[in-house]
Symmetry: C2
Subunit: 416 residues, 2 copies
């Protein structure tokens, strides 16, 4: 399996189908020469894994060097015992250092009794907004500030944006810390959203963790620290007693839904317990609207889970028939409107693609981003950069070849 495919499968499964690039034959640069045994031995010791295990991981490419610009960085393409998928590890000054992957945030299907069960060891819950963009970690790695995607790749576009947007003094003061956040806004090659009154792209931080150990700062400490550097942070709705939290969160979710926002992440203020997420019906339907435009390549589980959430929410909230009818109509439309559009487009002999755009300071960043996508096996067409102020806008068409080809074949008389 190539890296692009891995990325796509992962995105469909975990992040929610956010990176719906189409795979084509990827450039394979087979420069994953076998690492020498001395290196393997010391890395194994650092990671706390047996050497044979590490050999196996290299062999299977579950642990692999980045290709292209950052071959000195190793990437976990799979969760391995205590190490999250997407974790990046590298040698620096003769020692190892690690940027841990995103810890999985599991989902509450119902607020009560889930919060009570999952947070039995804390008395209050901090509730922060879950924004709809793409996950990025930013850290100083071997002297350079880099933006790492969920899968552990170094994205040249996101790296440029991070350097432009962030107060870089933070990384000099705290070289041991990693910023975990969401890149949000319309100039977004993965999940463009115009719902946040953001002109281009901004980085909203929701977590700060130590390199190597992955130990998180408490909510209060994190918010204070980030404020000192003038960083954008996800909104904090407040800290609620465990007992009343389900009712409070329901109110927050209903209000977020009205403005099409995604949902919340519910946290132990001390960050000793793993957070839990919960989303609005509008966000489920919005995901479905996008999923069914590209019905043949979206993960089936991705679709089903969003549908099932609608069922639990209506039962948990004991909706009356009027609200329920409205929910049925919204669900039906969220599925059939995009499906009709995709099928119609292909019938009318138009190509199916996702249109996104990026905004760069240096056109060279766009070129490097195009290279990067090509390495990942992504089929995307970049338009010419258009100057906007002192920056450049570039339109990108991400081709949805699989859905297009299947739909076209049906219109030509093929069977399902």
């Amino acid at each position: 399996m190539n890296e692009g495919e891995n990325m796509r499968k992962e995105e469909n499964k975990r992040e929610g189908n956010r990176d719906k690039f189409e795979k084509k034959k990827p450039e394979r640069e087979e420069n994953n020469a076998d690492p020498d045994s001395q290196f393997v031995a010391s890395l194994a010791e650092y990671l706390g894994l047996p050497e044979e295990k590490l050999d196996h991981l290299f062999e299977k490419k579950y642990l692999a060097r980045n290709r292209g610009e950052h071959e000195d960085l190793l990437r976990f393409d799979k969760e391995v015992s205590h190490i999250e998928r997407g974790t990046v590890v590298y040698e620096k000054d003769g020692a190892f250092e690690m940027v841990p992957g995103f810890p999985k945030i599991r989902r509450a299907m119902v607020l009560y009794p889930t919060l009570k069960e999952q947070f039995s060891q804390t008395r209050t819950l901090a509730v922060e907004e879950k924004m709809n963009g793409y996950n990025v970690r930013v850290a100083k790695i071997k002297g350079e500030v880099l933006a790492i995607t969920r899968s552990g790749y170094i994205c040249p576009y996101t790296t440029e944006r991070a350097k432009v947007k962030l107060n870089l003094k933070f990384f000099d003061d705290h070289p041991e810390l990693v910023l975990y956040g969401e890149m949000v806004g319309p100039d977004n090659p993965y999940v463009p959203k115009a719902i946040y009154e953001i002109e281009s792209l901004e980085f909203f931080i929701f977590d700060v963790r130590e390199k190597t150990t992955g130990k998180p700062l408490s909510v209060a400490r994190r918010r204070e620290l980030l404020e000192n550097y003038g960083f954008l942070q996800v909104r904090l709705f407040g800290e609620f007693p465990l007992e009343t939290a389900p009712e409070e969160i329901k109110k927050i979710i209903l209000n977020l839904g009205k403005i099409e926002h995604e949902g919340v992440v519910i946290k132990d203020p001390e960050m000793h317990l793993p957070p839990v997420k919960y989303t609005s019906s509008q966000s489920n339907c919005s995901d479905l609207r996008h999923a069914f435009l590209f019905y043949y390549e979206t993960g089936r589980d991705y679709m089903l889970s969003r549908i099932v959430r609608e069922g639990f929410q209506t039962v948990e909230w004991e909706e009356n028939e009027e609200a329920f009818e409205k929910r049925c109509m919204q669900l039906g439309e969220s599925i059939l409107v995009p499906l009709r559009e995709a099928i119609w487009e292909v019938k009318e002999k138009r190509r199916l693609f996702d249109e996104v755009r990026i905004r760069v300071s240096d056109p060279e960043t766009a070129r490097r981003f195009e290279e990067y996508l090509k390495r990942l096996g992504v089929d995307a067409v970049f338009e010419e950069p258009q100057p906007v102020g002192d920056e450049f806008l570039i339109e990108i068409k991400k081709m949805n070849k699989s859905t297009h080809d299947k739909t076209e074949a049906i219109w030509k008389g093929e069977l399902w």
Copy 2:
């Protein structure tokens, strides 16, 4: 993988999730002793397969003896080169004989140009009703009339019903022929339907084929032959010119939809070309209503394919906004109504099950059917037989443990 699981997976995938029994730990009777090499050699010759291939099939249990009552019959659990899955093969008087499996009937997503493409070598098309029940083959095997399921098992209930319902003289006159048909009606342990004005269970024949070769009779010859024996047959809507068939079939489908019937199978009258099926929107929605009651065990592809059909039909038929809105609402309700019901039932601490019933002449048949299901790893609770005239009705609860347990866990605070 055990046979019950295989059966369930197959049903979900192909037949449309019709046999939603719940698997539990199956009784494994490991009496699949290695067949002797002389037997393998002669069977390989009969099937036209290399001996090593056959050894491999036996080893993987892709070719396996029935357990329980019919250990002399071998069953293909997998499609193997030209041999359909569900094919049954056996020795009779020192020679081999074979009852071929159901040939796959592929689906037209749009009528035009599919029919033109798929049937370019014929000038007219016979259109017959596709009924909603379960597929059965009936043939005389080693002197006994037996009913074979799609997967190649000998179902004791269906066998009893076939013997009661059919004019058995047919099998004496035509020992070389196999009846392919649909068991339809409310006394149906797999797909109970009350839409056909059938009091109990009837066998509607749609195909007659030769043993071993699988060669089908032409539509006209089949219908004439079956009529001579007073057999029930699926309805023939007529024979239409290829050019006007899409328009005619659309009319038929709209009428079938109004009475909640499933759809049609479109055939080359000479049966030289493989048939093609096409179904009504109401049938898609009815499948979805059942699928979402047991959302956690229904095949994801099964759900998706039914949803996608709705998209193609609305575009092909160029529906106006009013019809489209209605379709959206129907789709949304077909999903959320059963989902709400399942979630609600579990919240109220009731078990999720599918309630079906059978009607037998001899209570011993019910007992054998219960044994048969147990061998397949199915979790079903049989009530006491109730006399009705000279027959007996038995209620059966098929337990949907997987959906039940998942839903219950969520209500107890587990995460998705």
